[in-house]
């Protein structure tokens, strides 16, 4: 059992938790994730390790309530415990001093970008961050991101905060303005990552994306997380989660993500009914 030390709602439907997992906290590096199972009947699902405190023995996860499993997790309180947490899984981000790095996080994708940004900064890169959400109240980690970035830009779809529009427009603006960019890291919904790659492709700017397929074990034994990168099949849990965005078959990824859409909806509905009735 993995005790929840701290829980905070940081935006509507977005929860931050600090979970006691000393071995993982000690070992994990930017870009890695854990797989959780909330209780005995629960499914296994991945969440990025947004931060860790080796001394306190805790890891931080930040997640959006998307369906039944994340709702179950969000229902746990401080002092309660998660049945299973396994990690750190996946390869750590390749951190290198390249010059100017732009880190783009969309929605809850800001959480996985946050540790990457810090590692990129620590090694000596100049880092510009672009974070975005549908509207101001959905934006997470703005202060934390600002504290570690040389420059932070904000976009909201509705213009309630920062630039009105998409982060790709900001990126395009930077490129048009002649700004030198050595590396782009983008994490967020598939359409966002795909759009960023289309913007950087013509200039050949290296672009890293973090993929979020459906996972089961997270150790390479099921193949459920496979994606196609450069025409080659890769298992995201062991070969990723980060890949060269210009090589990723996003179309395949989004189709595979919909495999269980109907069943997931049914499961979430049944869960809501039970809660409603109880």
């Amino acid at each position: 059992m993995f005790a929840i030390k701290k829980k905070r709602l940081i935006a509507p439907k977005v929860v931050l938790m600090e979970v006691l997992a000393p071995k993982i906290a000690r070992k994990r590096r930017a870009g890695q994730f854990v797989i959780l199972r909330v209780n005995d009947t629960g499914e296994r699902f991945p969440l990025t390790i947004a931060d860790s405190d080796a001394e306190a023995g805790t890891i931080t996860i930040i997640f959006q309530i998307a369906g039944k499993s994340t709702a179950l997790l969000a229902a746990l309180n401080e002092g309660e415990a998660i049945q299973d947490v396994v990690g750190p899984l996946g390869r750590p981000t390749h951190i290198e001093k390249v010059g100017h790095v732009v880190c783009i996080g969309g929605g809850v994708g800001i959480a996985p970008v946050y540790p990457i940004l810090r590692a990129m900064k620590e090694i000596g890169n100049r880092v510009t961050s672009i974070i975005s959400a549908r509207s101001k109240d959905l934006l997470i980690l703005e202060e934390e991101m600002r504290a570690h970035s040389d420059d932070l830009k904000v976009a909201t779809d509705d213009g309630s905060h920062g630039f009105k529009g998409f982060p790709t427009q900001i990126l395009q603006g930077m490129m048009n303005g002649g700004e030198r960019i050595d590396l782009v890291v983008a994490v967020g919904p598939v359409p966002l990552m795909r759009a960023v790659c289309e913007v950087t492709r013509p200039r050949g700017i290296p672009t890293v994306v973090s993929l979020n397929p459906i996972m089961v074990d997270g150790t390479g034994m099921c193949g459920g997380c496979r994606v196609s990168v450069g025409g080659k099949t890769q298992f995201v849990c062991v070969d990723g989660p980060e890949f060269d965005g210009h090589q990723v078959d996003f179309d395949l990824l989004s189709k595979r993500l919909r495999t269980y859409a109907d069943l997931e909806r049914a499961s979430a509905e049944a869960h809501k009914c039970k809660i409603g009735a109880g």
């Binding site: 150790t219 390479g220 193949g223 499961s267």
Partner: protein
Amino acid sequence: MKPPARAPRQKMPEQSAEERVKNFREVPYGYPPETAKIEAARCLQCKTAPCRQGCPVEVRIPEFIRKIREGDFAEANRIIKGDNALPAVCGRVCPQEDQCEKLCVLAKKGESVAIGRLERFAADYGLAQAPETPPPAAPTGRRVAVVGAGPAGLTCAGDLARLGHEVTIFEAFHAPGGVLVYGIPEFRLPKAIVQAEVDALKRAGVKIELNAVIGKVETIDELLAEGFDAVFIGTGAGLPNFMGIPGENLGGVYSANEYLTRSNLMKAYRFPDFDTPIIRSRRVAVVGGGNVAMDAARTALRLGAEEVRLVYRRSREEMPARIEEIHHAEEEGVRFELLTNPIEILGDDQGRTRGMRCLRMKLGEPDASGRRRPVPMPGSEFEVELDTVIIAIGNTPNPLIPSTTPDLKVGSHGTIVADKETGLTSKARVFAGGDIVTGAATVIEAMGAGKRAARAIHAQLMGG
């Protein structure tokens, strides 16, 4: 006590095919005591016991069978347990027809003693009694780490604990058992049996740390540095092979590992009471001809598929699956599409599987494995309509531990190189056994390797 002359090999009662395809309960019920005694009386109690040579752990077969005949079932169980830590498992899943029963003197007439069924009977009797707690061994003060809680790791851990060593098992999954819990379905091996065996290990003092992926959370070197005197690696061969044909990444295409893990370990067959989903298929093709393929096909039927085909590129004789399982699958209505090879999986515009294109094959000259090589017949292409494809063409070892343990010697197929008798690897104090060393094999062979390694580890710890 003269046996009734020439009783035939006793059948084990089982659920009818029509009934069992609708549930996940175990198919055979096991022998009632009277039947077990009749079957036991068929054994000739051969002095040389050729049957024992066929068993990878050399269970004292005539001795335990004699006890069953005499009605001393508890003693029969104790005798088996002396050599085999998991008899309730092996009695069910050992390929007996290729092992102990193959060498039984009665096998020539096709009527070998049903050793596996008797073993299962004795073990189930033992499980139903109050557990016997073995006398605690004097602690040796030595600590051993066992990586992987499959049959190899469990056996090694149990033997070492009984010798007084302090043993911790590190298991990647949230449940111990390895293939016994995530691969082999409930209807062939009830999970309660595996749990009972694991509980017995815990009573013997073995600690099990779940959710611990060695190579990620800790490396082998770190375990040694932390104060473990020796490490046993029993991480199995869990990496699924794919065919490399177009369409393999479509929605609705599963590796058998994923399909079976969802259904067995995650209990997707009880969705939505359990949260893990699995596609509710109508028309399924399983590609392969081994036990894994049979398990996947029979699981698909139980999940409600209307039509399940098994697509295998050689003929029935070459199928590696156990005869009993082929037979069960056929009875339940799995359609065998033999001498057939898939060349493409076809999708709809949503990226979901809608069919598969196949080629008919014929058998040519024998290949390296001694089996006749299938060769495509030109112009024999055809398509079948499907919504799910399950690929069961074998597994290879996961590279995680070799890649994080630089001085561990690895063979050509990613297997860890280890001494046959002792399990010692190229690295001092590190032993390995089971599928990670041999490639995908059997439960009892993995157990045998765990046992031999335990013996060698004990010798090393106490000698040095």
